[in-house]
Symmetry: C2
Subunit: 252 residues, 2 copies
DNA sequence: CTGCGGCCTGACGTTGCGTGAGGGTCAAGC
DNA sequence: GCTTGACCCTCACGCAACGTCAGGCCGCAG
């Protein structure tokens, strides 16, 4: 099968466009493959026209096949040019690569679907808000597991958009109040701060649904990505510690 | 939130490398985004150094987020530059696109896995043979359903590599015999041709496993892609018709 | 002889930057 | 004041796999 390129000159020869039609490629592509050293014409006519023989046609079909499997031209050249470097190995590598790609794409798809769903549910036509929630999800991807994210999403679905919006609108006020109390060095056990703490805890539970794992992941997120979280929520580690202290002092 | 870019000059300003560090991008990338009109510095220092404010940082984070969702720079520009063209819509489109991509990749992965498996099973270190079977699978993808391909693969697994190899080696002889009979215009009912027909049918059944659907798909393949099939197997429509006739005359 | 289709060789455009080349700028130490 | 490193600037080429002209030669039919 491995015929040498120096075939007998009595074999039928084809022009570029004929080869292109037979393989479904374009003439330009054949030029390109020649430039890359993938496929040289068997000969040239007097006028310099490219002429391909059956060996070239066969080789081109091999090239097309490998290209359809996702190999780059460079890899194809390596597979076809030398006899040695085992096509089977290349196939195995390609399978591994593609598997990773598929996994990543699927994860991305899941994220996108979650975000898009959220955008539709919330009637969020406001780009600013939407971008903020996208960024929130970006960070959350780092700290929550897939199951946790799924749980959170389902919880969001059951709560409904108005409820979520209400919660989101409540946060700034509570945060500001807590921050003020911290700045004024009020006693976390004082009645005023305890009231804030109760509201704070309620809002947190609104998000965590009382799930301890989610609570832990959230705490980790605030600890590790303190700068970002402060920028997004206004909660810095000091405030977090103060609020936690106040909540721990709640009696009920 | 939608602060104009013309912020007050008292805001803290950052240099390129500072912005790069904060966003995990490279300086070159920031240059690129500026060239593409995605993100212009808030100002330039006397020496021409790029200076970014908090608005630019925010915008850049949005850009990064959208890029992570798979949008192209052009799309991001469209989403961010004008307020109008609804990000939610773009998200929906992106979901659709990605879904299609994932499906295609998964199909390709399945094909690759089948081929790689076959390469490992058959100890096929011979690139020529492997390439031929890849091409066979390429064509088969066109005519067989996924279930059929799965059935064929499983049948191949149960038969084992030696059996398959034996079948493949038997074919050329049978085909040559049948072709000779056709050329000599021998009676399909004659004892000699009937013997060939019986062997032919056996080989076909070895492949189809007696599955009528697979048989039909195979026939379609030989009909629609006659040229290719002739090149690969040596069976042209005329020979196929002759063989079919002979098989239909078999008595048992 | 002219026209039309096919072929040729450059060579630039695309996407998202990486990677220098060649040359100013800035704060610090001598 | 001078040097040294760390930064910064603006070109500008490179990659992958071709698409898409531009300008011009070849060959055959009318």
């Amino acid at each position: 099968m491995a015929l040498p390129a120096t075939g007998n000159s009595t074999m039928t020869l084809y022009t570029v466009s004929q080869i292109a039609r037979r393989t479904g490629l374009t003439v330009r592509t054949l030029h390109h493959y020649e430039a890359k050293g993938l496929l040289n014409p068997a000969a040239r006519s007097g006028a310099g026209y490219r002429l391909y023989g059956s060996y070239e046609l066969l080789r081109l079909q091999h090239i097309v096949s490998l290209k359809m499997l996702g190999f780059s031209l460079k890899e194809i050249l390596a597979c076809l040019d030398v006899e040695a470097p085992s096509l089977a190995e290349a196939l195995a590598r390609q399978v591994d690569r593609l598997r990773e790609v598929v996994v990543r794409q699927q994860e991305l798809l899941r994220r996108l679907e979650r975000i898009a769903q959220q955008a539709i549910n919330g009637e969020t036509i406001d780009s600013e808000t939407l971008l903020n929630s996208i960024e929130a999800s970006t960070i959350m991807e780092k700290y929550f597991t897939h199951e946790q994210l799924e749980t959170i999403k389902q919880r969001g679905d059951t709560l409904g958009p108005e409820r979520i919006k209400a919660v989101e609108q409540s946060w700034p006020h509570v945060i500001a109040g807590m921050q003020a109390a911290l700045t004024l060095e009020k006693d976390p056990a004082s009645e005023e701060v305890q009231l804030l703490a109760r509201r704070w805890r309620t809002l947190v539970r609104e998000f965590t649904g009382g799930n301890a794992e989610i609570q832990r992941s959230m705490n980790t997120m605030f600890r590790e990505d303190a700068a970002t979280m402060q920028a997004k929520t206004g909660i810095d580690p000091a405030l977090m510690a103060y609020a936690s202290k106040a909540i721990s002092l709640l009696r009920d």
